[in-house]
């Protein structure tokens, strides 16, 4: 019986379920994407200096991503807590590690899509430039950073899902933890855009940090998600 509830089976089913729900309800596409775009515009209002915007574009994209991540995570778990479905998955003895991986995968897909949109917006609104080397760096950076963010978000999202007074805890727990991702992804992105005199090659050590981060929290999440969603 337990082999049938195996991690990969559960993960695939949960990821497919989450993505199917998003495709059908389009909450993230209709609400979070415009929100992120709006944040990018508001940065321009607040900073009011074209050169500065081009220079800090990397940081702004990742800030907008982090703010959107909070909403995406809350939505991801709202789907499950609305009718007691997360509890039902727990009660049915589904491997929590599988639920963790599945939900993180679904979040990752949504987040990468969002980031592509944000980078396009950065090119348009903040006038950054990108060449071939930079693109390779950027893609690697995006993938590793998004993996780390998805793992951390899903982990703390599971802990804070559900009762009132818990959901508001999510930003407080999550944002300090993702600081290394913010620092690393921003530096790597700036290198990819060669802003402020940074060379593309400077970005690779930062990608290393992002990969380590993703590995640590991927493993940490698999081990501890079950304990955190338990009552």
């Amino acid at each position: 019986m337990s082999a049938q509830h195996s991690l990969s089976r559960v993960a695939r089913a949960v990821a497919a379920k989450d993505l199917r729900i998003e495709l059908r309800s389009r909450v993230v596409i209709n609400q979070v994407f415009p929100f992120a775009g709006l944040v990018m515009v508001m940065f321009a209002f607040a900073l009011d200096n074209d050169d500065v915007l081009t220079r800090v574009a990397g940081g702004l994209v990742w800030l907008a991503t982090l703010f959107s991540l909070i909403i995406i995570i809350q939505r991801s778990f709202a789907v499950d807590t609305a009718d007691g479905a997360l509890e039902a998955q727990r009660v049915a003895g589904l491997d929590p590690a599988g639920i963790f991986v599945g939900k993180a995968l679904a979040v990752m897909v949504q987040l990468v899509t969002l980031e592509i949109m944000l980078f396009v917006a950065a090119v348009v609104l903040y006038r950054v430039q990108l060449n071939a080397d930079g693109t390779v760096l950027l893609v690697t950076c995006v993938l590793s950073a998004t993996a780390g963010l998805s793992f951390v978000g899903t982990l703390y999202g599971g802990l804070t899902a559900g009762s009132r007074g818990r959901e508001t805890l999510l930003p407080l727990l999550m944002l300090p933890v993702v600081a290394p991702v913010l620092i690393g992804a921003t530096r790597a992105t700036e290198s990819a855009f060669t802003s402020g005199g940074a060379a593309v090659s400077d970005g690779w050590p930062w990608v290393g940090v992002l990969v380590v981060f993703a590995a640590v929290f991927g493993l940490g999440g698999i081990l501890s998600f079950g304990s955190l969603i338990e009552e």
Binding site: Q4, H5, R20, I21, R24, A82, D83, Q89, R90, A92
Partner: protein, 212 residues
């Protein structure tokens, strides 16, 4: 010696309040046991405790041979709980919901189809999204999800609530079928007349204790 459920003076606490206050109950395989009692007596708590959801603070409790004081997790795959909430995904259709659970146990599409059929959920209804269903239809869907998991112990909390007479009959038939196939069923219900006909035995839950 294989009682499916064996609680001895079990205590379950919520914020200092003993929802189960030294409750004792023993259920053998294949029984259909009705839990009666006033609201707030602890029927729901007892069912949830049997599902391994709640920590047992005092006393002993074992389900399907597993000591809940030691390990609450491993018994869950063999137990099915239908609680107050339905555990459904509102944006998915009935068949997608049932399929999700079927995938976990490796049930075939044919099994899913026959389960839906037994519940009177035909082709068109099965493709309706859950958010468009009536309360009774949602309840039937939730029970279908439980059935497809082939649990050994069924814990049903007010399974008849919100259903019309025909639907209730269908559910009763499914419960009897499961019981004769070897499953054990605990039902908490206010529907005394109907449930008495269904159950092999009934007990009362009063103020957190079980009284036969």
């Amino acid at each position: 010696m294989s009682s499916v459920v064996d609680f001895r003076d079990a205590v379950v606490v919520f914020n200092g309040f003993p929802a189960l206050a030294e409750a004792s109950i023993e259920v053998e395989r294949g029984e259909i046991v009705l839990l009666q009692g006033p609201n707030g007596a602890g029927k729901t708590t007892l069912l949830r405790a049997c599902a391994g959801l709640l920590p047992i603070v005092r006393g002993e409790a074992s389900v399907l041979g597993v000591d809940l004081c030691v390990d609450r997790q491993s018994v869950r795959q063999r137990v099915g709980l239908l609680g107050h909430a339905n555990g459904l995904f509102a944006d998915l259709t009935i068949s997608e919901n049932v399929l999700f659970w079927a995938q976990m146990v490796g049930a075939s599409e044919g099994e899913v189809a026959s389960t839906l059929h037994r519940f009177g959920i035909d082709g068109r209804l099965a493709e309706q999204k859950v958010m468009h269903l009536s309360a009774g239809q949602k309840r039937r869907c939730a029970l279908a999800c439980l059935v497809v998991r082939r649990a050994e112990l069924w814990l049903l909390d007010e399974p008849h609530a919100g259903l019309d007479a025909a639907a209730r009959d269908e559910i009763d038939a499914i419960i009897r079928e499961a019981s004769s196939a070897g499953a054990t069923v605990l039902i908490a219900s206010h529907e005394l007349e109907r449930s008495r006909g269904l159950a092999t035995r009934s007990v009362s839950v009063i103020a957190g204790r079980v009284v036969s």
